[in-house]
């Protein structure tokens, strides 16, 4: 049984259809990366899984239990096993609480009264490489990257089985980013931690993800093992995305494949293939609607895939 099973998830805000059927699974101990265009619905996917965004249709099962649209009374105990790292680090921390209260809040929410909260705070701060005296600070007294690490410590407090991590390394320098990813890898090896990670940093994806899904306009357009996607991206959007990644070398000459035109409107989804107007490889056939097709563990939504 998969740890997390998302089937045909749909979310609309009024007339705006933000998620138009998203499906994927995550196995215990697996790291699944969601990448894709800004605004394509990645944050909405994981917020809907955690019950923090609406999902009018589809199914989300966690350890076999259906949780889409479940009331808070069902979700609360599950949050012990399923933790969230938010995209906006400072905004997600209440400004009036000290860092000690913030990172030990999960114990209080779960009613774990027997814990020595001071000791836990120390342990968690050390885990994300922040000095112990930070426990007495307030969020505004932290740098962006320090606030991000507090969010990580909080999510790891209860040793969850699944982490839903929204840009967990944005705003961290590459050394701290490396430390954090090594920590997550260690937890995965020791505790079988599974993770859905959203990140725009393709270099991070390459090193941490087992499988990845690429989103465009509220749908997955390609999915596969990280190796397969990096070595042989078959969807034109994936190819464009991977080719754009800026290299840490001022003399790098990148052969970028540019997207045409503007991101389309969610109010007026394009007909046929929704990537058609921007696709540098579009053919006549692309006025038809491509269906999701799985070939082994490689999924694609394209009528004329690249080879």
């Amino acid at each position: 049984m998969s740890l997390l099973n998302v089937v045909d998830l749909n979310t609309s805000y009024g007339p705006i259809n933000v998620l138009a059927g998203v499906s994927f699974t995550v196995e215990p101990g697996e790291t699944y990366a969601l990448v894709g265009e800004s605004g394509s619905g990645k944050t909405t996917v994981i917020r809907a899984i955690a019950g923090l965004a609406p999902a009018q249709d589809g199914s989300v099962t966690f350890e076999g239990q259906e949780i889409r649209g479940a009331p808070e009374s069902v979700m609360r105990p599950l949050r012990k096993d399923m933790a969230m790292m938010f995209q906006d680090p400072v905004g997600s921390l209440s400004p009036r609480l000290t860092i000690r209260s913030l990172i030990t809040e999960p114990y209080r929410i779960q009613g774990m009264k027997d814990r020595d909260l001071d000791a836990e705070a120390k342990r968690l701060l050390a885990m994300v490489n922040l000095p112990t005296h930070f426990a007495d600070r307030y969020p505004y007294q932290l740098s962006g990257g320090q606030a991000r690490r507090v969010g990580v410590a909080r999510a790891l407090a209860l040793e969850p089985k699944l982490i839903l991590a929204d840009e967990p390394t944005a705003g961290l320098d590459v050394s701290v980013q490396g430390e954090l990813l090594n920590l997550l890898n260690d937890l995965r090896e020791r505790l079988g931690l599974a993770m859905v990670i959203i990140t725009h940093n393709l270099s991070v994806v390459r090193h941490v993800a087992d499988r990845m899904g690429i989103m465009y306009l509220g749908r997955l357009v390609e999915e596969g093992t990280t190796e397969t996607i990096f070595n042989n991206p078959r969807h034109p959007y994936t190819r464009c995305l991977l080719s754009a990644n800026p290299e840490p070398d001022p003399d790098a000459r990148l052969e970028r494949i540019a997207l045409k035109g503007e991101p389309p409107s969610l109010l007026k989804r394009p007909s046929g293939c929704e990537f058609r107007e921007r696709c540098p490889f579009a053919k006549d056939i692309c006025t038809q609607t491509p269906q999701w097709e799985m070939n082994g563990d490689h999924g694609l939504r394209c009528l004329a895939p690249l080879s």
Partner: protein
């Protein structure tokens, strides 16, 4: 061409805390010339955001300016009146904050906020709104007209960042300060924003002070790079020098840690072992000593000066001191 726009001279800034003064910036000196793109990189917590909030005088209440000067077009900003600062912000100097929520008022629509920042303009409201919609389109926000009626929480993280960029560009500033403006942008958009900024530099001769942890973006966008560590500048130079010929061990290690260099999947990523010094209780000698694999005896006792190694390339490390030219 090297007309100085922003000059930072021996700037020292502390935060007062219960544990004593936290020395967030120490003896920071560098310039941004007219039309130049300068990148700042450095470890998380090294003082980058403190530096830019100091330039704009938008600092936390416990901030203390101890020493030094910040000059913009030869005006001393630390002596300027609050009124003069308000006039500068949003006209000559624009800022994109690290946290877009610092820019966006949660209870006003984006359209209203974009009208508000045009308050100096004599255009009609309709013209201002259409200008706002055009700017949103330029940063890749679909349906800009409809989107102007929405509130900040109705946008994705990357959209909020792009709106902040659009707002900062509206006044065609002489200096744009951007604190991690692309963390929530996918690679294709990131490139589009980089190109937009380069255009701005070419067309309006706008200078940019660009903070980022993304070394790939720094390499692609910037003319010059300032490397900070624990509140001090440890190296600065032309972008090629910094990436191909780094002279400070911290810079070298930082570049080596970028996973962008490692093409084969690695389970364990490189890091710089050890901890950053406590800014409220700084050790003597070189601030990087505890983590430096090339440290020598004198590094423990003497602070290395920021030496000029060649025209425009400075580093603060005893390893290079002998080759220094001044």
């Amino acid at each position: 061409m090297t007309e100085k726009l922003l000059e930072i001279d021996h700037l020292c800034v502390d935060y007062e805390t219960g544990r004593g003064d936290l020395k967030a910036l120490r003896d920071i000196t560098f310039n941004v010339n007219k039309g130049e793109i300068v990148g700042i990189v450095g470890e998380s917590g090294c003082g980058k955001s403190t530096l830019i909030s100091s330039i704009l005088r938008l600092t936390a209440p416990n901030t203390r300016f101890r020493e030094g000067e910040i000059r913009f077009k030869e005006q001393d900003l630390l002596q300027a009146s609050e009124r003069q600062m308000r006039d500068l912000r949003g006209s000559d100097i624009s800022i994109v904050f690290q946290d877009p929520m610092q820019t966006h008022n949660p209870v006003l629509t984006i359209g209203q906020q974009m009208l508000d920042i045009q308050h100096r303009s004599k255009q009609s409201k309709a013209d201002k709104l259409s200008h706002a919609a055009k700017m949103l389109g330029a940063v890749g926000i679909p349906d800009p007209d409809a989107r102007l009626k929405q509130y900040p929480h109705e946008f994705s993280g990357g959209m909020r960042q792009r709106i902040a960029i659009a707002m900062a560009l509206m006044s065609e500033p002489d200096l744009l300060i951007a604190d991690e403006p692309t963390t929530a942008l996918d690679a294709t958009l990131e490139v589009q924003i980089i190109e937009r900024l380069q255009e701005l530099q070419r067309e309006f001769h706008c200078a940019i002070l660009f903070i980022s942890h993304h070394l790939g973006v720094i390499a692609e966008l910037c003319d010059r790079v300032v490397v900070m560590y624990a509140g001090a500048v440890v190296e600065s130079g032309e972008v090629r020098e910094i990436f191909h010929n780094p002279k400070h061990p911290y810079t070298r290690r930082l570049i080596e840690c970028d996973p962008g260099h490692i093409k084969e999947r690695a389970r364990i990523l490189p890091t710089i072992p050890g901890e950053v010094p406590d800014l409220a209780n700084l050790p003597g000698g070189c601030i990087f000593r505890d983590r430096c694999d090339q440290a020598m005896a004198r590094c423990a006792t003497e602070v290395p000066p920021l030496d000029q190694l060649k025209e425009g390339h400075h580093a603060a490390c005893w390893l290079n001191h002998a080759e220094a030219t001044s």
